[in-house]
């Protein structure tokens, strides 16, 4: 029994860590999938916008004295508005062109955003203290310590993903959205302003990334490169899941975070690459992705 508890205390933190990573993979690949579904653009700037969310939380706290809960609402709003401006001024001009141009454009946007933050804040990380409210949730079982904040991140990510799914599948707006993905011209003919929907969809996807950024701020150090580290793994997650389904993106995100966490226990050197190896295997067996439509 003691042995089992010991083993568990070794693996459980990694599982939690994996789930936390998975939560971010899920939130980010969800945003990517929504944007891709509507705009047919792979948003390379997603990582930079995630980073902006974390920095927005830091700036709100240190410059304006607005705490975590305020940031959780305000940061996605602010970054989402920036996203809307980006869509209106730049991305909207590319819809008639090869989809690869969208990737190149958003890559350029990511470079600009990252470079600006690197100039302002340097490359080293800033720290964002965990809100004290979560201390009460901390769990200590012998050697095993579980920070309450991480549990909160996993729960709120699940709730957020489910809420997004509900909005898309069960509401009127979601129905318009799904219809516009299938037949934009027809939906437009029914009097729905499809270009505005695309703008708002991009804004919402970006806001989701920023929301994930705020969640990440107390866990990871807040630095300009934090998004780039994440986004490439998230691309692999997207390839594994396929971008056909919203729930698929979420499930794949959590699953791969978990796999990564468990790999870390047994072979820590491989934990950084395991997602890419899984991607290779999925490409060999199901090229369209686990949840993708060919």
């Amino acid at each position: 029994m003691d042995d089992l508890l010991f083993e568990l205390s070794l693996i459980l933190p990694q599982i939690i860590l994996g789930l936390v990573n998975g939560a971010f993979y899920a939130l980010l690949s969800l945003g990517l999938a929504i944007i891709f579904g509507m705009l047919n653009v792979i948003n390379f700037a997603h990582g930079a916008q995630f980073m902006m969310g974390a920095f927005a939380a830091w700036m709100l706290l240190n410059w304006l004295g607005i705490g975590y809960w305020g940031a959780l609402v305000l940061a996605p709003l602010l970054v989402g508005i920036i996203g809307i401006v980006i869509e209106k001024t730049m991305i909207a001009r590319l819809y008639k062109l090869d989809h690869l141009y969208g990737l190149l454009l958003t890559f350029g946007i990511a470079l600009v955003i990252e470079g600006i933050f690197r100039n302002e804040f340097g490359s080293s990380g800033l720290s964002y203290a965990t809100p004290p409210e979560f201390r009460a949730l901390d769990l200590e079982l012998g050697d095993f310590f579980l920070p309450g904040y991480r549990v909160w991140v996993v729960i709120v990510a699940v709730v957020m993903c489910l809420a997004t799914w509900l909005v898309i599948e069960k509401t009127r707006i979601g129905a318009y959205l799904r219809a516009a993905v299938e037949r934009p011209q027809l939906v437009q003919a029914f009097g729905v302003n499809v270009p505005r929907m695309m703008t708002l969809t991009y804004g919402a996807g970006v806001a989701l990334a920023a929301f994930a950024g705020v969640l990440a701020a107390p866990i990871y150090s807040v630095h300009p490169g934090m998004g780039a580290n994440f986004i490439i793994t998230v691309f692999a997650v997207v390839v594994i899941g396929g971008m056909g389904s919203i729930l698929g993106a979420v499930v794949t995100g959590f699953m791969l975070g978990l796999v990564q966490g468990i790999t870390d226990v047994f072979w820590s050197e491989a934990s950084a690459t395991v997602v890419f190896v899984i991607m290779a295997i999925v490409l060999l067996t199901r090229p369209a992705g686990l949840f993708g439509r060919a």
């Binding site: 792979i42 141009y101 350029g108 470079l111 690197r118 100039n119 691309f235 692999a236 390839v239 050197e269």
Partner: protein, 330 residues
């Protein structure tokens, strides 16, 4: 060619033109002579190390362009082949005292050897998925380079000796090294040109323009795509290996995703799918980096800005625009 297709950006609607000298059309042959003259004369006026950097990246960009310009596949992971080429050449030259000509060929071999499985995986998808897959695979190589003992981790491989070419020419002098780099670049450039104008190259272009039709004509399109991928990766490895000898160093920067982005940027600035665009693009970007180095992170911002400007307003690139103005393919 589909309207707005990325591969169509650089070229103009191709008139049927007589292929002359080495398969170049007359304006291309003229441009090639200008290029050769520039390569021969410039080391007497400009700093050879700076020129060698341009030539290494020009070859890298030409290799990348072989894939995007002629097969229509955008690889976002070419840093993997370039970087591993640099590591292997550097390691062979330093640890095993392999002569430079062999070390560079080993760099090319590792690029091609890596390109084979990666290309085999990536060509299962096209378009943006292809880009994401190549990026993800390259990130795997980055993590490998970070952890593998022979790459020297964060420090990279330093103090790589340039060695003695064929046991005769001591490459320590910059100008001697320059002639080797110039020769490698010109041979690589002509090789790519030859590939593009071979029957194999015609099939590549057919696949770019209409893959189902190429398939229906009986071509195994996957084989052609894979072959093009391996050639491109091998040439990128040679470019990386040469760069490692020029600067005596191979580091993580060479395998990082930003390097993949840089080669995309060079090709985009010069003109996707043009013959001379990647060379011009490499020269522009390297020169810019050289002059802006003191501004630190602003270089990233400016590069991002150039990316945005090119995509929004300047999709033909420098050479594509010139060609369009003169109504010739360059």
């Amino acid at each position: 060619m589909a309207e707005g297709s990325i591969a169509a950006a650089g070229g103009i609607a191709a008139r049927h033109e007589e292929a002359g000298f080495l398969g170049f059309t007359r304006p291309q042959a003229l441009a090639f002579l200008v290029l050769v003259a520039a390569v021969l004369v410039s080391p007497f006026f400009l700093y050879p190390v700076f020129l060698m950097k341009i030539l290494c990246f020009a070859l890298f960009a030409c290799a990348f362009n072989l894939l995007i310009g002629y097969v229509g596949l955008l690889s976002f992971g070419h840093a993997a082949y370039f970087g591993m080429g640099a590591y292997v050449t550097g390691y062979a030259a330093k640890a095993w005292s392999v002569p430079p000509e062999l070390a560079i060929l080993m760099g090319g071999a590792i690029g091609a050897a890596l390109g084979l499985p990666f290309g085999w995986l990536a060509i299962r998808r096209t378009g943006i998925y292809f880009a994401m897959i190549t990026l993800a695979l390259a990130q795997m190589v980055y993590f490998f380079a970070l952890q593998a003992p022979f790459t020297g981790g964060e420090d990279g491989i330093q103090a790589i000796p340039r060695g003695t070419l064929f046991g005769i020419f001591d490459l320590t002098a910059d100008l001697t090294m320059y002639w080797l780099v110039a020769a490698i670049f010109l041979v690589g450039f002509l090789l790519i040109h030859r590939i593009v104008h071979s029957p194999f190259g015609q099939v590549m272009k057919a696949i770019r323009d209409n893959e189902p039709r190429a398939t229906s004509l009986g071509y195994r399109t996957d084989d052609y795509k894979l072959m093009a991928f391996v050639l491109s990766a091998g040439l990128a490895g040679i470019a990386g290996g040469t760069k490692a000898l020029v600067f005596n160093i191979a580091t993580l920067t060479d395998v990082l995703w930003t390097m993949s982005g840089e080669v995309v940027l060079m090709t985009l600035v010069g003109g996707l799918g043009t013959v001379f665009g990647p060379v011009v693009g490499a020269a522009v970007i390297i020169t810019m980096q050289n002059y802006l180095a003191e501004f630190g992170a602003w270089v990233t911002v400016i590069q991002g800005g150039i990316f945005i400007a090119c995509v929004l307003a300047f999709r033909r690139g420098v050479v594509g625009e010139i060609g369009n103005a003169l109504k010739v393919k360059l």
